[in-house]
């Protein structure tokens, strides 16, 4: 394995570790707050995700924004990993892998677009 490939492996691994670490930390805080405030997970469904209420909710120690953020970071971490790979491949001039990376991100973007349109 070349030095560049090994370095890229380490970079991508770091992205995954930090992403999942942050996600689990936020989810854990959300769960603790759920227990503290007596939220019933099987009760009425929570209001839909609203990004404008995240900061205020966090300051109010509402469990919901912590949970939303944790979930979003978990779902986004694999895409961030692809983005890190894209940068690495572009730096080392591996054009075919750049195309593959862009292709994956296009599929993810399509996923967002098609789901949003269909809502």
């Amino acid at each position: 394995m070349s030095g560049a490939a090994a370095a890229l492996d380490r970079t991508v691994a770091r992205v995954l570790r930090w992403g999942i670490g942050a996600s689990i930390a936020l989810l854990a805080v959300g769960v603790v707050l759920m227990v503290a405030t007596g939220v019933d997970p099987l009760g009425p469904p929570p209001p839909p995700f609203d990004p404008t209420e995240i900061v205020a909710g966090i300051l109010a120690l509402d469990p919901l924004p912590f949970l939303w953020l944790g979930l979003i970071i978990a779902i986004a971490t694999p895409s961030l990993r692809v983005l890190a790979s894209l940068v690495g491949y572009a730096r080392t001039g591996q054009r075919r892998m750049v195309v593959v990376s862009v292709g994956i991100l296009v599929v993810i973007a399509l996923s967002v677009a098609l789901s949003s349109v269909a809502v």
Partner: protein, 320 residues
């Protein structure tokens, strides 16, 4: 105990058993949430996908640091698994829940069958828990959690180490219908995906299988390692350890592509997904640490019974 803590405990049990038995987390989480907590199947699938992302990404990070996973191969194939997962995620919202329940029952029955067969084929007496550890380690053909166990416990051998299965160059193995007349690819790009000691064969089979794995993952909320690992190992000639590690890497983006669909369509309840994901993560950690000290043979047989029972319950749900 409050329901949220029960969810954490249930997720932890699913994570622990998954890492001990080499089962996909989704195979356990979805029945737990549907049959145990009465959640709609589609919602359980969304929650399961998040848990699958968390555990597989954590394991993939460790595997990449040890250079066991093949990043280039994984990314190339995940282009197709992600496309399949996108289609599967959209289709899942159009299918009646009874159809999904029927598909899940089939998956459970297949998993129970493969576990039972593996248990029988490795049924020779052993010296106890220590001897059972390799059984866990070699169960990677069944899916991703073994890799999670190996990775989170820091026991994944690096490429080239004993047990890494990279000791000698080898062409793709020929077995059954997967055997073709031209196993190795002449395409320069595909050839460039090879590892230091192996070449990549039957790339078109890998592409088709990856799309299929993506669809199944999105429909049923599983990682799809049960398809990807044998596909890479048996059809494409990737060593088992590398295939398992690379499958973990691919699962993240595969599950992510469909989790986005579930998330944006309101199919993921954060009050259920949060406790479950935390529980599964902690359970996988605990299972990984306990694996070397536990004789999983009896546990495996008991679990075959549980899986078979769950498959019947799911089938009954499908029939209505």
């Amino acid at each position: 105990m409050t329901v949220d803590l029960v969810l954490v405990a249930g997720g932890a049990a699913a994570g622990a058993f998954g890492s001990l038995l080499g089962l996909g987390g989704g195979v356990l989480i979805v029945p737990l949430l549907t049959l145990g907590f009465g959640l709609p199947l589609r919602e359980a699938v969304g929650v399961s996908l998040v848990s699958v992302i968390v555990t597989s990404s954590a394991a993939a990070g460790v595997y990449l640091e040890r250079h066991v996973a093949n990043l280039r191969l994984g990314m190339t194939l995940e282009l197709f698994t992600a496309a399949g997962a996108l289609v599967g995620g959209l289709v899942a919202f159009a299918l009646p829940e009874r159809v999904l329940a029927g598909l899940f029952a089939a998956l459970l029955a297949y998993t129970a069958f493969t576990m039972a067969r593996r248990g029988l084929s490795r049924g020779a007496p052993s010296a106890g828990p220590a001897a059972a550890a390799p059984v866990v380690a070699s169960a990677g053909t069944a899916g991703d959690p073994t890799a999670i166990a190996d990775a989170l416990s820091g026991e994944a051998p690096a490429a080239g180490e004993p047990g890494g299965e990279d000791a000698a160059p080898r062409p793709p193995r020929r077995r059954g219908w997967l055997a073709g007349s031209s196993p190795t690819s002449s395409m320069p790009f595909v050839a460039s995906l090879a590892g230091p000691d192996y070449v990549i064969g039957r790339f078109p089979v890998g592409v088709i299988g990856s799309v299929f794995a993506g669809v199944i993952s999105a429909l049923l909320g599983v990682g799809g390692g049960i398809i990807k690992v044998p596909l890479m190992n048996l059809a494409m000639g990737v060593p088992l350890r590398v295939a398992t590690a690379t499958s973990n890497l691919m699962i993240g983006i595969t599950a992510s592509a469909s989790a986005i669909v579930y998330f944006l369509r309101g199919g993921i309840d954060p009050y259920v997904a949060g406790p479950t994901a935390v529980g599964v993560f902690l359970g996988a950690l605990a299972g990984a640490r306990a694996a070397p000290r536990i004789d999983v043979r009896i546990l495996r047989l008991l679990f075959v019974v549980v899986l078979a029972y769950t498959a019947v319950q799911m089938a009954l749900r499908a029939i209505g």
